[in-house]
Symmetry: C2
Subunit: 407 residues, 2 copies
Amino acid sequence: MLMKNKLYFKLKNKKIQEIAFSAICEEQKNIGYYALPEQNITPILEYCKTIPERIKNIAVIGIGGSSLGAKAIYEFIKPTRKLQRKLYFFESTDPINITTLLSKIDLEKTHFLIISKSGTTVETFSIYKYIYSLKNDSKSYTFITDPGSPLEKYAHKIGASILDLPNNVGGRFSVLSTVGLVPLALSGIDIQALLYGANTLKKSFFGAGYMQDTLLKKAVFYAQNHAQYHINCIFAYSETLKYFCEWYVQLWGESLGKKQRHSAFNVGLTPIGLIGPKDQHSFLQLLMEGTRDKSVTFIKIEDFQDDIVIPDISLPHLESLDSLNNLPFSKLINMQCDSVIKALLEEEIPLDSISISKVNEGNIGALMYYYELLTSLVGELIDVNTYDQPGVEAGKIILKKKLNSLS
Amino acid sequence: MLMKNKLYFKLKNKKIQEIAFSAICEEQKNIGYYALPEQNITPILEYCKTIPERIKNIAVIGIGGSSLGAKAIYEFIKPTRKLQRKLYFFESTDPINITTLLSKIDLEKTHFLIISKSGTTVETFSIYKYIYSLKNDSKSYTFITDPGSPLEKYAHKIGASILDLPNNVGGRFSVLSTVGLVPLALSGIDIQALLYGANTLKKSFFGAGYMQDTLLKKAVFYAQNHAQYHINCIFAYSETLKYFCEWYVQLWGESLGKKQRHSAFNVGLTPIGLIGPKDQHSFLQLLMEGTRDKSVTFIKIEDFQDDIVIPDISLPHLESLDSLNNLPFSKLINMQCDSVIKALLEEEIPLDSISISKVNEGNIGALMYYYELLTSLVGELIDVNTYDQPGVEAGKIILKKKLNSLS
């Protein structure tokens, strides 16, 4: 068992659960991300061997779905382990950000991964052009894009490495494809274990295991109550999950904020990522006493490796704090989480809690696949196309016109 | 003029504006943060001289209002300038986080600021005890707390430095008090310029300048429409504003998520911080096509110092991207912002945009004071006590019981 998920809300609607499950089984035939946990990673591992050992930094030039997944996993694992290479993410056209990132890396020891499905992402290519003008050496670049795209032709022309994106996998569902796996494998993260975790979750869901009933119940609750509880918070009790929360925000918001397929309505579930205990001192007041429009999912890590203990020191005038003495920090942070769960339950806020045993690849793989399945289920139930993003086109068209009017 | 603020929504209700203004003028007599821009900072600068030059790191042990403000300003300024000292923030009981932070600093070159209003914050003192067990030297610690608190007595007893918190200034409004100014001054940030910026904004508001009408209009719009537009997003077009957004989330959420003073209702305005262009690839779809419950404030930086230019390179097969050539990144990022503004206006999403001239102390001081005033105004209009946080007590009491039952 990679993770546990306890639902604190009650719901009985077996029939809607069955409808949702059938829809997902049907969808699975056409949507590419479902099959990713079973992929053969030999080509990725073979590619990694072509990157020389003197390369110490991998810089990902990509934005949104092309960076958030790998960043979430890298930032989760990194604090607990010495990795083979560092990852850097160029995700912004902010000149201060580009200059700051470049000042941190030795270009001679850096390999760049340019990740773009369409091959024409403005952010990615403005940054690529800038960096290419500093390091005009095609062996320093690998391109990850759709087969047959103009970008693939360009990469071929300059003699750079090319890796394909799999079919029918959208950006925000692509973390377990080449998009996420290549930078992670190059950093020294065990991508086989990552996929194994995702696959265990997948089998549990599709094979009528523990996760099937749990995920279906949760999805039906979110869908049935989406008009009231339309803000869905994750409250993760570890700093290591900070970028997982950013990945979740894209997955949830961009998938579920849509015009309905068969109505004239705009619907949407708004994701918010919180980190405990820090956000107990920021967002908790609003959860406790604000408008009753939020559900909360707590995420706990049971066993923090390299735990440390609060020493047995009594401070004069501050003896009331002696109850903390000899307590491992891992126990304290989880007690803080349990206390907030209890306080929110007393306010009848709809909650659930997810526990993962520790920080490793299998657990984050399972957690991300869990959220992908949950997103697909809720999307099906609230009648949206989970996999497109027509709303972002308008801004791109306006920008293109502005750019063309410059020349 | 430190900043400009253009409102894209129309509103005429002079009478409510007058009521809000009177209420704030009245409130100003009792609430301490209003006076902070005019304070005498000589004692802070004198204190800073007592910290020896060999100290290269300042570690803040504090959480919520005791860290978010200084962090926001430090992370805003830091990428643009070489500062005298580095700041580190211990804000979590996550053992992985504590260990990771400690691995980055040389204890011999580090001075610790322990910031706690009550003097009994669990997170702060569990971390303090741990660090004190590693560096048992009272000259390495300064305590910032309420005069007369048990913490002040403790600090006095061990012979450590003590700085007072001013009266009637709550944590989330304390950035311009010792809480924010001391770490910032020690890092080499110009706190006089910071206060000057805040004071300019203050004078414009209270002295019937440009900001009076603008802030009043905006506050009345938010308050009158809070039942529909109850999610208030900031979309800031620079990575330097990332932690400003976190500060805003606490200020807005904890101040405005409350039981109303004169009703039985829970109300609340939910803050969300977004960074462009990154979140164009994450949250924008939800803004464009999701439920119409969000307002958006864009923040732009007009002049990025040390700007860089997209080189004049044409990539074979990717000639459509040639329109980017020779464009400064600062111009591109602001064109991206303008394009998204236009796209959202076409969807009739309520918007406004704030422009600041560049990254410096005066501008961030003005921006933060602007948000403090806006929060006070909206709190007054939606009938909540902006300055308390009763909802966070329940979890603290439960935790205390759990801790006491351990021993």
